[in-house]
């Protein structure tokens, strides 16, 4: 007899609710340090409408990151911090989910 599951399904950990939007979209990118893919970073996605953070991610082993479950009406900017604090944070402005 199989065990009986009681799964809690997956959810996001957004720091604010994203309202509206009729087209599902995501943001994806990669973090580089001196031209090399870099994973030891913290990537923060901000909402330009209220300047508050939406979500936080650590890049995967290849330095790639993505923010899912967004919409194309959203205007954002992305900030990446170097966890080793050897370099200043970098910002990518006017990022629109696709």
């Amino acid at each position: 007899m199989k065990p009986c599951s009681r799964v809690a399904t997956k959810t996001n950990n957004h720091l604010q609710n994203i309202q509206g939007g009729q087209v599902i979209a995501k943001i994806q990118g990669s973090v580089k340090k001196l031209g090399q893919q870099y994973q030891d970073a913290t990537v923060l996605l901000y909402n330009k409408a209220n300047l508050q953070p939406i979500a936080m991610r650590k890049p995967d082993q290849n330095g790639n990151y993505q923010f899912l479950g967004l919409n194309t009406d959203l205007k954002t900017f992305v900030v990446a911090f170097d966890k080793k604090q050897q370099f200043n944070a970098v910002i990518q402005d006017n990022v629109v989910p696709k």
């Binding site: 599951s5 809690a8 087209v23 599902i24």
Partner: protein, 423 residues
């Protein structure tokens, strides 16, 4: 990873009507379960750099985010598949995410599209167009024959046509014709082995009429949790509803009156994810209003019959029906299922409200103390979503959900339906 396209949903927002009219439920089930809804002519179609297909229709599509669309007649043939609606830019345009990624970058022939059905077929229908038997397409032996019967008269006994609207609903193991429900070797749900016609027969007329046993009400004079008062004429007007599922199981939430949208009644039927072998005793469940009262009665309401308010209200009324797992003699009276649920205030108590989507699977056990398995698609909601008045799609990262309300004492609660993963 491919986008999941197996679980589909329909809503009153698609333009389907569910009003105070006989036949509305079976015609709704015909569309949602069997035929789907055809789009008007696709005037333009293209594929973008991300592999999403953009279509423009001649007239309004009435389609919603996260519904499943099926395209046919396109060339190249790789476009002929199922899609999730990724975007609804306006009333005539849709952006579609294919189940299987499409390598081609241009469309040479524009075909047709529709909102895909849940994947059933009509096995039998009657000459008077008031009964249906549905079954999953390409069924496994376990898939039930789902009999839905809106009969109001057998010529001798009559249920007054102005009374509350409901269909008699039950599951059968096999059928040879539309009224084949008296075979003592065939399991039914619900079933009273001393009277195999109990779920399908009428006796008496007027306020003394008795009609069926397991019923799905869809138009009543008062909203949940009052009634159902069969004798009381329901107001006319369309009811809000969600019908969601796949070829294994589906759920149906609806308002019983046209002006109360949040106190919905939940019904459902089909297979569940069983932990027991289902080859002898099939793994069926049925959420329904199970009562035998005369049409003039004001007793036996939703809040006083076992399973009258599935998953909500109190321990007894929150139950539902399942097959009795008796493999020696399978045609025995059905059993009552009890869900293993954190509380009976789904979508209302907000006990996991710090989680953005707190959706928890629902295992259950039966009156014989057998752990049986868990329900497909439907989840307990640990969030308080307030008054949800209509079918509401939600994406949490890549997980797709539909939220709709059910009555959870003393007012609206809600449940999550999980559609799968996007991309």
């Amino acid at each position: 990873m491919a986008t999941d396209v197996d679980v589909q949903y329909f809503s009153h927002l698609n333009g389907l009507t569910l009003g105070n009219n006989w036949g509305d439920l079976i015609r709704l089930l015909d569309k949602a379960l069997v035929t789907g809804i055809d789009f008007t002519q696709i005037t333009t179609a293209s594929i973008d750099a991300q592999g999403d297909v953009h279509i423009t229709l001649y007239a309004a599509h009435n389609a919603m985010l996260l519904q499943v669309v099926e395209l046919t007649g396109f060339a190249p043939a790789s476009f002929n598949q199922k899609y999730r609606i990724k975007g609804v830019p306006n009333t005539t345009q849709l952006i579609l995410k294919p189940h299987t990624a499409i390598a081609e970058t241009s469309i040479t022939t524009v075909g047709a599209g529709k909102l895909a059905s849940l994947g059933y077929e009509i096995i039998f229908r009657d000459a008077n167009d008031v009964k249906r038997v549905y079954r999953a397409k390409n069924p496994m032996s376990q898939h039930p024959y789902i009999r839905v019967d809106e009969t109001t008269s057998d010529e001798t006994n009559t249920y007054n046509s102005s009374y509350a609207k409901s269909a008699m609903v039950g599951l059968l193991e096999s059928m040879e014709h539309i009224d084949d429900y008296e075979n003592p070797g065939v399991l039914q749900l619900p079933i009273d082995t001393s009277n195999l016609k109990k779920n399908w027969s009428l006796t008496g007329s007027g306020t003394s009429n008795y009609r069926g046993w397991s019923k799905w009400y869809y138009a009543c004079s008062q909203p949940m949790p009052n009634g159902p008062f069969d004798f009381s004429t329901p107001p006319s007007g369309n009811r809000n509803f969600t019908l969601l599922g796949d070829a294994d199981a589906f759920y149906f939430t609806r308002s019983l009156t046209p002006d109360n949208h949040q106190n919905k009644l939940l019904s459902g039927c089909g297979l569940f994810n069983s932990i027991l072998d289902g080859s002898i005793v099939p793994s069926w469940f049925l959420m329904t209003t199970l009562k035998v009262t005369e049409a003039g009665s004001t007793s036996g309401g939703f809040v006083s019959v076992t399973g009258g308010t599935p998953l909500a209200f109190d321990a007894d009324k929150a139950k539902f029906l399942s097959t009795n797992y008796n493999i020696i003699s399978k045609v025995v009276n059905h059993t009552i299922a009890t869900s293993i649920i954190p509380d009976l205030l789904t979508g209302r108590s907000g006990i996991y409200g710090a989680t953005s989507v707190a959706a928890l699977e629902l295992p259950f056990f039966d009156n014989q103390n057998r752990l049986r398995g868990n329900l497909k698609h439907i989840h307990y909601s640990g969030n308080n979503r307030g008054n949800v008045t209509q079918t509401t799609p939600l994406l949490s990262d890549n997980s797709m959900y539909i939220i709709d309300a059910i009555w959870a004492n003393p007012d609206a609660g809600s449940v999550y339906f999980y559609l799968g993963e996007f991309e």
